[in-house]
């Protein structure tokens, strides 16, 4: 069951489109914002609401890496691995994060606090190396220990 708040937001989103299907990406994002990730059940309900078949919506959901079809932590850390970041300490930063959180890429900490994922480019090459936690970009993480302070502010 989609919640009232979710439905409200989705309805607002759909107003921008002539066909309900067209709003499916926005709708997925809304549900993800509310629940953290897209469960099978949520996807099935949403598909019905958007007049799509579940497989059709799943094909969209599985296409986009930032639509999470598996449970993620309360906060998702995207580590930029594109050329600029790579050149100025991506590897050290990733290594530090993995050690500090005791997880690898694609994994979630045991307390469900963080999920670590790679990202192709965050578009902030000027402040490489960079990560993005939820909706916030954090750059200039050189040396990698700089990240510790930042992590503390995400509970």
């Amino acid at each position: 069951m989609l919640s009232g708040a979710e439905l409200n937001e989705i309805e607002k989103e759909l107003r921008a489109y002539s066909d309900r299907k067209m709003g499916c990406i926005g709708a997925l994002k809304i549900v993800q914002r509310h629940r953290g990730w897209i469960t099978d059940e949520a996807l099935r309900d949403l598909a019905g609401y958007l007049e799509m078949t579940p497989d059709e919506l799943d094909s969209v959901a599985t296409f986009y890496p930032l639509v999470f079809r598996r449970q993620v932590g309360r906060h998702v850390i995207l580590v930029c691995d594109s050329v600029s970041c790579y050149n100025v300490g991506y590897e050290e930063l990733l290594w530090h994060l993995m050690k500090r959180l005791a997880i690898g890429l694609g994994q979630t900490t045991a307390d469900g606090r963080f999920t670590l994922l790679p990202a192709a480019c965050l578009g902030v090459c000027e402040s490489a190396p960079a990560i993005m936690i939820d909706a916030d970009v954090h750059g200039g993480l050189e040396p990698p220990e700089k990240v510790d302070q930042i992590l503390n502010s995400y509970e």
Partner: protein, 819 residues
């Protein structure tokens, strides 16, 4: 017409064609993998690239419109290089497991690689190593071989209207899969398998059974519903290995449903009869043909001498050929001297022929298979055409999809057509007559009817009658709002080419002759004739049987023979290819009638519940083991062929009857099949449909049994897309898709009755019958209604149904409890 030049040849094509279509229409081959005649162009595989003069880029011919004066090249060194590269890229991932792939030999990728060069790619890359998906019934998936053309996805969604599979994931990991990577659970029509250009989708019954080049192809007419599809059989060493639809072949042009694609294996069932059986000491024992036929001849003469020829009856079969049924009629009149001849069509097809006679004065309908495509408003009443006549139902879907016609579906069940409809009028079960009356009433109220209809016989009476069914009153009876009824009336009246659809099967108990008649009245009020009716006969040869049996009313019909409505009960019954103990409504009465017979002769291909009660059982050869003629919904005869040897000692039905008749000293003729076919063509199939003369008849909504305390749910029976009558119960293939009866019940009712999903339910009728069924809790049925398919003998659904009154077995009230 557009004129263009392809490979230096001036060719023509109709407007709105693509370059690929223009080329194909003129016999010019352009390779393609992702294009399908039935689907919107996708432009994914890049193999149909062509060079167009004045265009720098290569264009995908499947999605580029042909234009006047275009100059196109389809085979140039540049194109060959481009195609070779595409193939090389596909072969990076595609495994070269052709030696163990069932598709090898008819694989489009294999053929193109052979044509354009490389069997190995210059590139190297990863290959997928997913295990095969074998958990689902009938359809296997091997995602490693998939080239991601998406044809199966589009056939499933666009053409079949289902949407069970899709491209899941992204990039290299993408695979064809149901949502959530669940096990495939769909209609199992297998259309995706036929559309797959490689071996990524296959049918499990054919898995590793043969190499394609060892098999012989034999098109044959499908033995199930009245559409009369051509199913292309692949034969090897006297067995059917598989059945496929082939693009452009037959009336279906390559489309098939689960029955046509997978249902062929019934002929190999272990329940097939291999020898005549005679009841000796209470048990059926094998006997020789001579013994069995002499027994029948002697006992029939005995009954005749004792009770008169009119005490002998016969039931023909909607599945046997025209020739078989014609021979049964001949046998009954020449050898027995009785006119008591009927069939299960009495409870199905006769609902509509009875109405046709009253409304148009014609004995049957000859449907134009493609007529739905030309209709602009399609009205479907309480019928799921996509499950009763799946390939005909596709035409209704296509009309909605391609020409954006208005599809109005009325009925309680959430069928595939309902989900695709423009308007779904969710009426209460078995209120079709009231709904149609309401629509007609709204038309007269608004003066929307065709004024010519006022001159038709019966108009004043109908107009008077319809006052009782004002939209408001109809709304009260049907649960559809008066506004919707008025809008439907307006939509139908405004239509240039409206069509009215309903299927009248012997197992569907919510529609009767009245329903058909009301729809025909509506057609007349719209100023239309029989051409506006989309009412297909039920089985492959229902119409042929009707033709072969000819004029009625001379003898007793099935109601009189089996339900004690006859003045004088019959003493002997000859049943050919029918199973009344299961398929006729009101099992208790039928059983009593069968048990009371002095002589029961059952001629069938398999050991049925009825055959088990017989005094003598005669083994008949089945479809594909004999030749004959079916007459399907178009009214045109179609020959089906013999391509297998008969099972055991079985014989074609006509031959058994001829031999028996000859033994009884009747002049049966028919020295061989050709002679019989000639005689049948002359006497039966030459019949011309008379011109229609419309007449209007007022129809009252039959009151469905009051649902008083306890018995508050209305039981609707019907059929499934995967099954046909009780015959398909012996098809292992179809059994693997749906193997048992179930009770569909609305969540609210389920809660009230204490029934849980997948739990067992006790269903009792007011007649005292009790059956147990697995419950499927679903919103597909509305509150107050339960639905059960009738195909499965052991479920005994017909114990609950009522014996037919006026050619119809009405919906019954039942009590449902947790069991």
């Amino acid at each position: 017409m557009i004129e263009l030049t392809i490979n230096g040849r001036k060719v023509q094509c109709p407007p709105k064609s693509t370059i690929l279509q223009a080329a194909q229409a003129n016999g010019i081959y352009i390779p393609h993998l992702c294009w399908d005649r039935r689907l919107t162009p996708y432009g994914g595989c890049r193999l149909c690239l062509v060079e167009v003069e004045g265009q720098k880029k290569l264009l995908a011919s499947c999605s580029t419109p042909a234009e006047q004066g275009m100059v196109v090249q389809t085979e140039t060194p540049k194109l060959e290089k481009a195609r070779r590269t595409v193939l090389e890229l596909l072969l990076v991932h595609h495994p070269l497991d052709c030696p163990v792939c069932d598709k090898a030999g008819e694989c489009e990728l294999q053929d193109l690689a052979f044509k354009y060069g490389p069997s190995q790619s210059r590139f190297s890359g990863e290959r997928k190593h997913e295990p095969e998906f074998l958990a689902a019934p009938l359809i296997e998936r091997n995602t490693n071989r998939c080239i991601l053309c998406g044809k199966c996805v589009r056939v499933c969604k666009e053409h079949q209207g289902v949407g069970a599979i899709n491209l899941i994931g992204r990039g290299f990991k993408t695979k064809i899969s149901p949502a959530f990577e669940e096990t495939l659970d769909c209609e199992f029509c297998g259309q995706c398998v036929d559309s797959c250009p490689v071996g990524a989708l296959g049918t499990k019954p054919y898995r590793f059974r043969s190499r394609v080049w060892f098999m012989e192809e034999q098109p044959n007419i499908c033995p199930y519903c009245s559409v009369g599809c051509t199913t292309v059989l692949s034969l090897r060493e006297g067995r059917i290995m598989r059945a496929r639809g082939k693009d452009g072949v037959g009336i279906n042009e390559g489309d098939l449903c689960p029955r046509g694609r997978f249902g062929f294996d019934f002929i190999e069932s272990e329940h097939r009869l291999t020898t005549p059986l005679l009841r000796k000491g209470g048990k059926l024992e094998p006997a020789s043909w001579q013994e069995a036929l002499e027994f029948v001849a002697a006992r029939l003469s005995e009954v005749k001498a004792k009770h008169g020829a009119e005490s002998v009856g016969a039931l023909g079969s909607e599945r046997c050929s025209v020739e078989d049924n014609y021979m049964l009629r001949k046998f009954m009149s020449l050898a027995v001297g009785s006119n008591n001849l009927d069939s299960r069509a009495r409870f199905g097809y006769h609902k509509q022929t009875g109405a046709l006679k009253k409304a148009f004065g014609i004995p049957w309908l000859a449907l134009d298979f493609n007529a739905p495509l030309a209709a602009d408003v399609l009205f479907v009443l309480e019928s799921d055409l996509t499950s009763t006549h799946p390939v005909y139902g596709l035409k209704v879907l296509a009309a909605r999809r391609d020409s954006e016609a208005t599809l109005i579906v009325a009925g309680p069940q959430e069928t595939k057509l309902a989900t695709w409809s423009s308007t779904w009028l969710r009426s209460r079960p078995a209120t079709g007559v009231a709904l149609v009356n309401g629509i007609m009433s709204a038309m007269l109220e608004g003066g929307l009817h065709n004024k010519d209809a006022e001159k038709v016989n019966g108009f004043p009476q109908l107009a008077e009658h319809l006052k009782k069914y004002s939209p408001g009153e109809a709304a009260r009876m049907t649960g559809v709002s008066a506004e919707d009824i008025r809008q439907t009336a307006a939509a139908l009246a405004a239509a240039k080419n409206p069509m009215l659809f309903a299927s009248f099967g012997s197992s569907s108990n919510t529609k009767g002759e009245g329903t058909a008649l009301a729809l025909m009245d509506l057609a007349i009020l719209l100023g239309r004739g029989p051409e506006a009716l989309g009412m297909p006969p039920e089985f492959a040869n229902t119409l042929g049987l009707q033709m072969a049996f000819g004029d009625e009313g001379k003898g007793l019909d099935a109601r009189q023979m089996l339900y004690g409505n006859g003045q004088k009960p019959i003493k002997a019954l000859y049943i050919m290819g029918e199973n009344p103990a299961v398929t006729f409504p009101g099992t208790a009465k039928v059983m009593k009638a069968l048990e009371g017979l002095d002589l029961l002769i059952v001629q069938d291909i398999m050991m049925t519940e009825t055959a088990a009660m017989a005094h003598v059982v005669l083994p008949a050869a089945s479809w594909s083991e004999k030749e004959g003629t079916f007459v399907g919904l178009t009214g045109k005869p179609q020959k089906f062929v013999k391509c297998l040897p008969e099972t055991g000692l079985s014989m074609p039905d006509w031959k058994i009857l001829r031999n028996l008749g000859t033994l009884m000293k009747a002049e049966m003729g028919a020295g061989n099949f050709a002679e019989l076919a000639e005689e049948t063509a002359e006497n039966v199939l030459s019949a011309q449909l008379p011109a229609a003369t419309p007449a209007l008849t007022a129809v009252e909504q039959a009151t469905t049994e009051t649902t008083e305390d306890g018995y508050r749910l209305l039981l609707a029976t019907g059929n499934l897309m995967q099954h046909s009558g009780s015959l398909t119960a012996i098809s292992k293939n179809l059994g693997s898709a749906v193997s048992d009866a179930y009770l569909q019940i609305n969540p609210a009712d389920a809660k009230a009755c204490g029934v849980t999903d997948e739990g067992f339910a006790k269903v009792s009728g007011k007649n005292g019958a009790v059956i147990y069924l697995k419950a499927k809790v679903t919103v597909e049925v509305p509150e107050g209604m339960v639905f059960v398919p009738t195909h499965f003998a052991h479920a005994g659904v017909n114990m609950l149904t009522s014996p037919p009154t006026n050619g119809e077995a009405p919906a019954v009230a039942v009590k449902v409890e947790a069991a």
